[in-house]
Structures are given as structure tokens and as C-alpha cells.
Amino acid sequence: MQHGQYTKKVLDYFKNPKHAGDVKNASGVGQVGNPVCGDMMKISIAVKDDRISDIRFKTFGCVAAIGSTEALCRIAKGKKLADAKKITSKDIAKELGGLPGIKMHCSVLGADGLKKAIDDYEKKQRGKKTRK
């Protein structure tokens, strides 16, 4: 363990995540990573009036992985989909007050997870429209 490498923010988000879990009847779900690599994240979102009204994460991974997904949820909650899509790994790292170099991939995975969840939601929406 190299906790000296983490900011207070990372440790706080890791120890006291407010967004752990699944959104019930999620509008979209995104899963990224692989247990073989030691990180797997699932992001679920609820969308209302084109905004992310709720967002939750489930993460198998290290301190930085859990901290990154919690940070992602805090940034994305309440955002318009168009703005949420623009969230990058840099935004997540910034929210955490920085991440050690070797852990930067955790923030990349987090951002990818949200993009996948939004993609999933938009695909479902398109499906609904074509069925109409």
C-alpha cells in the first residue's frame, strides 16, 4: 500500500463513497475494465429531461479506482447529457486533487464508463423511436 501517494480527497472518496450501488431501473449502464487487470467498473445512470438525475458506481479495484468512480459520479450528477459526455479523465483527476502517474488509468476508466452508460441510454432511446 502506498497511501502516502494519495491526496486527502482520494482517501475521503474511497472511504466514504456516496454513490456506491446501482441505479434502480437504470436508463443506461456502462461497464469497463477487466478483473484480470484488477479494475472493473460499472456505471449506471438515470436520465430525466436530458439530464443525469442519478448516477451510481460499482467498482472492483484499488483505492484510486473506487475514488475515481466516486469523483465521476459527483461531477456528472445533474449535468446535461451533452455536458456529461465531455467529462474527461483530467476532470476526474482534478476533482481528486491529482492521482499518482501509475493510477491515471483509473480516471480514464471512470470517464469511459460514463461514456458507455450514455451510449447505452442513447441506443435504447433510438430503439424506442424506431419501434414507434
Binding site: M1, P17, G21, V36, G38, C62, I66, I102
Partner: protein, 387 residues
């Protein structure tokens, strides 16, 4: 916040009696052991007393003990020093796939110098099959080097059987005994040992000091050239205060401590394994501390990651360690856990708890009161396992 230190495989605290023994050699008895005046001779006597005591602890002669800066230096001196001094006899070295990095990397470097290295695979508990070793030895083999008590999973090799094979085949046998020294018997005559690495900071002695046993008559090329200290094998003014502390730590250690740690370790293992989907890494069924290090427990918890477990434990004051990739400088999971056949995701979920003779039952009970909740919380957060 109180500290519960269960990372004694990484390092241990100095015994207060060790510190007390060292102090005069920094303040009053500060002489250089090479000096012929009375201050120097005072240090020389302390140095040689320490050497005799450490030699006796492994049934060696004092002149067979060389003091070094620790385990890494001793292992490098043993492997590289022996390889260079004996390269005319052969250029093949045998080691295992569960070695400490300093042995693995010393061997890797020797490969760049024209040596050939064979890594023997261990079984699921981390043991080396003697038949496999015998088969791996060729006419070109000069050295077999292996870790005696494994630092991660605690496996203690049957050095008597393995040493017999080496002696019969006429190859040198080196063990890295940094973790096992004083915890299980090491007898250089009975166990057919040619080179033994030991160190101080794993046994409540100071950091920065270790030793190498070199059986009389074995040729070693020194790594550091200089004033000819330590029989010309390790030049540099002897670190007398630390060597005195090292010897004091050896003097204090006794069999009773190992027995006491076996009991405590088994209590810890029994209780932790009550957590659902939790498994022990390394040997099971060790009664006397001769198959598994008396201070070592290593678990894997399905669906959670080791560094995260360590992070929650640390928040409760508990120091642990993990074989997870996420805690190390690389992103590969521990090579030792992979060597015993774990899948990467299993290796990622591993946690090592290493006790010492100072660990109390009350401390272990505190850990046992915290750990199940930590695993439960992390499993609830985890994307694996469907909790």
C-alpha cells in the same frame, strides 16, 4: 489512532534491548574496528563477538560469516560473487519462480553476462519438488539459489533434501533466509548449505545490516573493492553499532517465540477463513512452523482488490500488505501468487498479514473485529460477485 502492525514480513520494530545494546557503539565505543589503538580494539572485540554469536546460531564457524548491508547485498554477493569466481566450472544457475526481486534481478543481470538461468516452478503451496531440482541440474550447473521461507506466502522449503541433492551433484547451494532466520532451524552442516543470506531488520534488529555465510573454501569474487575488510570480500568500515544490534536480536530470539507465533498465526487464520469465499494462500496444515513461516498468513478474498482492503484497514490503524498489482510499481500481480497457480483476479484480491512476537491476542482480535466488515463493504461496492 492506535497502530496494529501486521506487516512484520516487511520489517519489524527494534527491540528496546537491541537499541540499548547498540547505543554505546555510537556514542562511546565509536572506534573503527580496523584501528590498532584501544578504541579500535574495543570495536573489534564487539564485532568478533557478534560474528561468533551469529555463526553459532547456524552452526557455522566465525570466519564463515561476512557482514553486509542487508539481504539484498548478501544475495547479490552470494549469486554474482559465486558465479564470477566459478565461471570456469560452468555457467548455469538454477533458481525458482518465487524468489525475492533481488535474486531474480541478480540472475537476470547474470544472463546478460553470459550465464544461463533456469527457474524451477513450485507447486500450489509453493514447494519445490526435489525430483524437479535434480532433473534441472546439468554438467554446467554451478549454483542452486532459493528462498528458504517465502516472504509472501510463507512456504518453508525442505532444505535438507534439496541440499543433499546439491551436495551429491557437486553444485553449490545458496538459501535466502531473510524471512526464516531464527524462526525455523538453519544448520549449515546438517542441511548441506554452502551460502546463507540472513538479515537483521526482520528479527527486531536495526535496518541496514545483514550477513552472508560462506562455507570455508568456497571462492567468491567481491562486489566492492577497497580496504580489504571482511576477508577481502566486503570492503568498507564495519557498521559496528548495527552489527552489535543484529547479534543482540539473534541472542534474544528463541524457539519459544516461534511456537507462540504459530499459535497466534493459526488463531488468526482460523478466524479469517470464517469470512465467506475466503481462502488461504500458501501451505496449510503446518503444526510446528516448519512448513509455513510462523509469522505469515496470506489470504485471498473473492470479488475485492487487495490494495482497497489495505486502505480500509489502514484507516482503522491496521498495517497490512498485498500482492495486488495496484500497490506495486508495476501493474503486474505478484509473481509469487501467479507462480502458485492463482488467476490474476485472485492474486489481486490477496492480503498478507505478518505478525511478530510482540503481537498480542487483543490486537489480533481487533483485526478480526474489523476485517469482516471491510470485506463486506468492499464486496457491496464491487462490480463482481453480484452482491
Amino acid at each position: 489512532m492506535r497502530t496494529i502492525y501486521l506487516d512484520n514480513g516487511a520489517t519489524t520494530k527494534i527491540d528496546p534491548k537491541v537499541l540499548e545494546a547498540m547505543q554505546p557503539y555510537m556514542t562511546e565505543k565509536y572506534g573503527n574496528a580496523s584501528s590498532t589503538h584501544h578504541k579500535g580494539q574495543e570495536a573489534k572485540i564487539a564485532l568478533e563477538d557478534a560474528r561468533s554469536l551469529i555463526a553459532k546460531s547456524i552452526n557455522a564457524k566465525p570466519e564463515e560469516i561476512i557482514f553486509t548491508s542487508g539481504g539484498t547485498e548478501s544475495n547479490n554477493l552470494a549469486i554474482k560473487g559465486l558465479a564470477f569466481a566459478n565461471s570456469r566450472k560452468g555457467k548455469h544457475i538454477i533458481t525458482t519462480n518465487i524468489e525475492h526481486d533481488c535474486v531474480l534481478n541478480a540472475c537476470k543481470w547474470l544472463e546478460t553476462q553470459g550465464f544461463k538461468v533456469t527457474n524451477i516452478n513450485v507447486d500450489k503451496e509453493g514447494f519445490i519438488d526435489p525430483a524437479k531440482l535434480e532433473k534441472a541440474i546439468t554438467k554446467d550447473t554451478i549454483l542452486v539459489s532459493m528462498i528458504h521461507g517465502n516472504n509472501e506466502i510463507g512456504t518453508i522449503q525442505d532444505i535438507k533434501s534439496l541440499g543433499e541433492i546439491c551436495r551429491r551433484k557437486g553444485v553449490f547451494f545458496h538459501i535466502d533466509a531473510c524471512q526464516s532466520y531464527t524462526k525455523t532451524e538453519i544448520d549449515v552442516r546438517k542441511h548441506n548449505l554452502d551460502l546463507v543470506t540472513i538479515n537483521s531488520h526482520k528479527i527486531h534488529g536495526p535496518k541496514g545490516v545483514g550477513a552472508l555465510y560462506i562455507r570455508k573454501g568456497i571462492n567468491i569474487t567481491p562486489l566492492a573493492h577497497g580496504g580489504g575488510h571482511e576477508q577481502n570480500l566486503r570492503s568498507g568500515t564495519e557498521n559496528v553499532p548495527s552489527i552489535v544490534g543484529f547479534a543482540k536480536a539473534v541472542r534474544i530470539a528463541d524457539k519459544g517465540h516461534a511456537r507462540q507465533m504459530v499459535k497466534m498465526r493459526d488463531y488468526l487464520i482460523e478466524k479469517v477463513l470464517k469470512i465467506p469465499e475466503t481462502y488461504l494462500n500458501g501451505p496449510s496444515g503446518d503444526k510446528n512452523g516448519d512448513r509455513r513461516l510462523c509469522n505469515n498468513a496470506n489470504f485471498r478474498f473473492s470479488y475485492v482488490e487487495g490494495e482497497a482492503i489495505g486502505g480500509y484497514l489502514d484507516a482503522k490503524g491496521i498495517c497490512s500488505s498485498t500482492g495486488s498489482a495496484c500497490s506495486s510499481r508495476s501493474l503486474e500481480p505478484s509473481h509469487v501468487l501467479m507462480a502458485i497457480g492463482l488467476k490474476p483476479e485472485e492474486a489481486h484480491g490477496s492480503l498478507r498479514l505478518t505478525i511478530s512476537r510482540f503481537t498480542t491476542k487483543e490486537e489480533v482480535d481487533y483485526v478480526l473485529s474489523v476485517l469482516p466488515g471491510v470485506i463486506k463493504k468492499l464486496r457491496a461496492i464491487s462490480s463482481l460477485g453480484g452482491f
